[in-house]
């Protein structure tokens, strides 16, 4: 059986709503004909309009309202179809949700989960494509998870919902259709930890969310070229535990971080490098490589995004530099660099 990322999320939501009669979900598009990219299918029907509701276009207030509900025994899941819209709610996120437990002396915590979807391609442009995990990670009091695979999405969303603290759950839009072979998905208690999802010898690759899929897609071809790598999927951006990266580096002594859905400055990739650099026991043979988007807003035109996004060729050239080997490959970056797969009919 195959389960897609959006099905996994849908399943997690339904199960958690059943499990906890107090859980509430809300957001723009949650009950409309498209069911929030299919992730909220059946929710309103099963659990009623009071626990699953559309909201006015009022991102800041709705965040504070979520804080209030979750303080008053209604944990909640708030969702935004694009992360960019959530910029309107930074006061309630940073000054309320993140600090509440601390600033009132630990009296009560805010069990809110905030689902944010990141757009890419098909003209998403400057204000429908931003991914601000580094902002959220900077703020004490928040947790940030960005699972790559359906099973992890399922487990981590459930974990986030049961977490007594605010958790930012970032989904890349291009992951919604990613499928994973599963028997029956079942909740497996999990930790906010990275995972070594593929083993190799020549270098360590660190990535998360869509970047992990991009990195994985090169595995075969690199192996053919006799290049193998440890691939570490972060899953949790905050807390960020780098021990597994350190372990891998002791073996490979070479590092490539693919942080391809982030601008470079003060990015998560930079944070990882900063932590590693300060370690006594890490000795790299070559300077580490960090690949991110350029420090430029996302342009809309498909002609521009072609060289704006990181291409397979870019990654391979960098791998080649890192391992000191020429790598043969046929570029299959198609014209359709701005859609995830042939099923995708733009724009959303």
């Amino acid at each position: 059986m195959k389960t897609s990322y959006s099905q996994a999320i849908n399943k997690a939501l339904i199960e958690e709503m059943k499990r906890n009669k107090k859980l509430v979900c809300f957001g723009l598009g949650i009950n409309d004909s498209l069911n929030f990219f299919g992730t909220t299918k059946g929710l309103e029907k099963k659990f009623g309009h009071d626990r699953v509701f559309e909201t006015p276009t009022s991102e800041n207030a709705m965040t504070g309202i979520g804080v209030g509900m979750s303080l008053n025994s209604n944990p909640c899941v708030m969702m935004h179809q694009r992360l960019d819209f959530f910029l309107l709610a930074m006061d309630q996120l940073v000054n309320s949700a993140a600090k509440w437990h601390f600033m009132f002396g630990g009296k009560k915590s805010v069990p809110i989960t905030i689902r944010l979807v990141v757009g890419k391609g098909w003209g998403q442009g400057p204000t429908h494509s931003q991914s601000l995990q580094s902002w959220f990670s900077h703020i004490p009091g928040l947790k940030v998870v960005m699972p790559t695979f359906p099973k992890d999405a399922y487990n981590l969303l459930k974990k986030a919902i049961r977490d007594p603290n605010p958790v930012i759950f970032i989904e890349h839009r291009w992951l919604h259709n990613v499928e994973q072979e599963t028997k029956k998905i079942k909740y497996k208690s999990t930790k906010y930890l990275p995972e070594l999802i593929s083993k190799g010898a020549d270098f360590t690759a660190v990535s998360y969310s869509l970047s992990t899929i991009e990195m994985l897609s090169l595995k075969k071809m690199l192996n053919k070229n006799k290049v193998s790598f440890d691939l570490i999927d972060l899953k949790s951006i905050k807390p960020l535990n780098i021990s597994i990266i350190k372990n891998s580096l002791k073996k490979t002594k070479k590092l490539l971080i693919l942080d391809s859905i982030s601008h470079p400055i003060c990015s998560v990739g930079s944070e990882i490098l900063s932590q590693l650099y300060r370690e006594k026991n890490i000795k790299l043979i070559k300077p580490p490589i960090l690949l991110t988007l350029p420090d430029v807003p996302t342009p809309t035109s498909t002609y521009y995004t072609k060289d704006f996004y990181i291409k397979k060729a870019d990654i391979i050239n960098n791998v080649s530099k890192l391992v000191g080997k020429k790598i043969k490959f046929v570029s299959n970056d198609s014209n359709l660099h701005d859609v995830p797969d042939s099923n995708f009919k733009g724009p959303f």
Partner: protein, 322 residues
Amino acid sequence: MKKNISKKIYEIQKKIRIVEEKIASNYNQNRMRCPTHLSIGQESVAATSGLALSHNDISISYHRSHAHFLAKGGSSKKLFAELHGFDEGCSKGVGGSMHLIDLKNNFYGSTAIVSNSIPVGVGLAYSLKLAKKKNLVCIYIGDAAVEEGVFFESINFSVLKKLPVVFICENNFYSVYTHIKERQPKKRKIFKLASAIGATSHSFKQDNPFKLFQKFDELFKKIRKNPMTHFVEIETFRYLEHCGPNDDTSLGYRKLQEVKKWKKKDPLAFSRSYLTRNKILNKNQIEILDKKININVDKDFNFLSKLKKPKFKDIRKLVYKA
């Protein structure tokens, strides 16, 4: 009303409709690769207010802005090029359908975040006031825009400072697929809300574009003379889906009847028959006019085939002004 103005009203409405239909019928070729919100059905508001604005008046808009852009004098050629992502687009293809601009005609842009352009419009008006210019800023918004706090903050400031601003709220009852009654208190009229904030408020009708034009024309003259913040709500209706080129009645979020009711009182059809009824143009003349518009729009669209594909490196320096 002067004949040529009546003719002009029809002409702009028709042009907007044809341009939008051109986009719709070509959209599925997947060469306009950006989210695109069409205003077919809503042209009356843009056409009449656009015509009533003078060149030095400023307008600014939201995600559904093709009509406002065109009505302020924006070029359909540049609009098409923008949607196709060419350097020749009004925003060099960087912005796409949701980020149109035409500074020469004082169309100061449209943006994609709900309500995001509202305070920018108010700021533009503050500058007009400082420069003692006798012009106004027209801020187009949808019905969901008034749910964002920034709308309220902005209009409060605009009223406080007596800025020459007119908000034109196109209430098409839906935000994406959600009806206004799920988002705003029942029985609360948007224009009355604006009035309580302190704006002088009006409720206009779109059905007769000639009357609507006169109302705008009078109102704008008044504002230019006596700078104040005004608010106009107009009920209207989009015929196609929220974003994209298709009919969406199959989605079931609005009743076929509702769509039909609005299409039956299509303001463009009204204008057409108004012209003949009032002997401003006869049927034949109208057909000639339509044809001319069609030919021009086709020409503007076809010029795209000659354009070169631009490259990221051409624009990456645009992040900062040097």
